[in-house]
Subunit: 213 residues, 4 copies
């Protein structure tokens, strides 16, 4: 199981969380990555934790102001989220961003709302897809518990299109039980945010997440 | 073969073109539809021609200013284009727009750039998809002649995901030979614009398009 | 005072409201306009009521799919809203849309959130600006009562930049008293929506709005 | 005169250019800043050069994925560009981004196309505005030479609204003569990109720019 922690634009200490994540990953022999804002990618990567961007531009080098290029991200990061529900992309831009990310050597995890959209993004050839029903994001109610049909539907939908694409489970993940429930539904990873980034003790939250693996 | 004429925002006489299209369709026993700006849907539909919108909003009724709702379009139109390269949508909005259109009884034709994106939009359940390589739009060079591999790839990609979804062929279609070439590649329709809308004699252009069918 | 009724994408009978508005305007010798969805502009204008679009594109004629051009709107409408809080535009597009609207002979009413933004849009040369604090939209709490400072600030800000530009007052207007309160703050018009469009009796709502004028 | 070098998404060595800019600024006693991609802000600031972001989000801390917050930028940078023609913002977002930037202690330079838009953005209270006619960007033809009326118009328009806001001159600046021409038109700074970022010898390009000051 892959635990991908999206720090969003939370008022948190990205480097401290990254250090904790790096240590918990080593201690538990688990795969944990941290996705900070673009500005913080260098400092987060410096901790040794697996580092993801929250987004990369579909553009290549050129006259683009205010973009975050895959090539620039790849100086520090290992992968990138794409099409998060808070940063929805046009279909053609998801396609181009996946290609730009892969050309730069970045792993791609593309978010979508439901099994139909999961099938759609799977067809674009990412490394993984993450199903996040928008109505559960930030609720603390895990999609794996509240709506297992969506996770199973996403796993089936992605498998029909391309069985080599992993399915992650997002929205409402906050406990170790949520992670195990996701695994039981054949998800290969979880995507979470506030459960770690806004925790009083992010290290304890991370340890709890991977304890059962 | 379905001939779908997108009038875009061209400076043309939408009603005159619609009247010509209605007559040519009847005379040739061909299926021809006209897609004007939203403002012109009522007047175009009045001619009796099959009428498409160029876009519908993913929203339902509510506090949305400046939107074009599927329900409002369905008063006059039979279907709608979605995700044209000049009106690219976010993936989640393509999904919601298809659903809103179908709920309103509209047929849906969703555009995309390449076979991978065709597979992606096919997974969202539209009635048809149209492959339009952006580099050929408006060139007068038909994709069916210049790049038959893309059309064949699109037909194969859509068929793998859902064989009930038709594939149309856009970009550069302007002659009857282009229509026949598209049909020979197993496209079930063509999407064109300037070839009719900017023709000196739109009726003659339409007649030429369907002459070989 | 100008009463501008935005029908948004509400599930209402646009033509019936337009007919009522035309009659109330005549009976009360008041200026009332109705702004339906683009699809309904022709039918609304047919009633004889003053007709506004909810938005027009910054583009001129050309290869633009899914746009609503000022020229197309001007076949039926007298003016247009721009930059409503539900259809926020980029600054350069507000500028271009105002120009396109004026070239087509449309009157322009540009919305903004606060006095600073009112000053900004006034500098672009519209016919009128409408101040709508987003937190009051749809509340039924009138900005003229709840936050008279914002209206006074908007009138002052617009006047400093260009005294020929009228200031309208939006957000929460639903009664005749709200209209009079707006007038007392030197607003030259009101912009409202649900107070008429979702009223059980839109004609009675319109009559009440203009009764005190 | 302030020389602000936008590195856009060019394939250039941001740190090497920053080092050269820091040294040229010191040697010439000139004010030179460098605006890299967000990912590179930390490394560029490390060189000691004055550092600008190319954009900051209108959002504050919270559930925003793929944003670049003013607070995150302010860890490293001294200021930010906003509303560049390659990253046009909605008016309400320019307003909110200026406020977010100022709250974070960042200086703001807001771009616009023409004198009317310059007046509009000046009303929002930035530290400076930059006039960049889109048709001259990247041409190597300086706006100060090709279209001095636009620069004079921008200086006059900004001065009418708020004389404390500086006017910079962008688009086509590449030589020391361009900088002097801009100064002669009462611009207080220049905004340029390819003239330095794509120069064979960026240091020499920078030295030439400030040589006449």
């Amino acid at each position: 199981m892959f635990v991908l922690v999206n720090l969003k634009a939370y008022d948190c200490d990205a480097v401290a969380i990254a250090e904790a994540a790096a240590e918990v990953a080593t201690d538990a022999d688990a795969r944990i990555a941290v996705a900070p804002q673009a500005v913080d990618l260098a400092a987060v990567a410096e901790t040794g934790v697996e580092t993801f961007a929250q987004h990369v531009s579909p553009n290549g080098h050129g006259s683009h102001t205010g973009s975050t290029l895959a090539d620039a991200v790849a100086q520090y990061a290992d992968g990138t989220l794409l099409n998060h529900s808070e940063r929805r992309l046009r279909l053609a831009d998801i396609d181009a961003s996946i290609e730009a990310a892969h050309d730069a050597g970045l792993e791609t995890v593309v978010c979508a709302n439901n099994p139909e959209q999961i099938a759609a993004v799977t067809a674009l050839g990412p490394d993984a897809v993450a199903v996040e029903p928008p109505e559960l994001i930030g609720t603390g109610v895990s999609v794996a518990s509240a709506d297992p049909d969506i996770v199973e539907g996403a796993v089936a939908a992605a498998g029909d299109v391309d069985p080599s694409v992993d399915v992650f489970c997002g929205a409402g993940i906050s406990t170790g039980d949520d992670v195990l429930a996701a695994r039981d539904l054949d998800a290969r990873g979880v995507l979470l945010a506030s459960g770690v980034a806004k925790a009083d003790d992010p290290r304890a939250a991370l340890e709890a997440l991977v304890a059962g693996l």
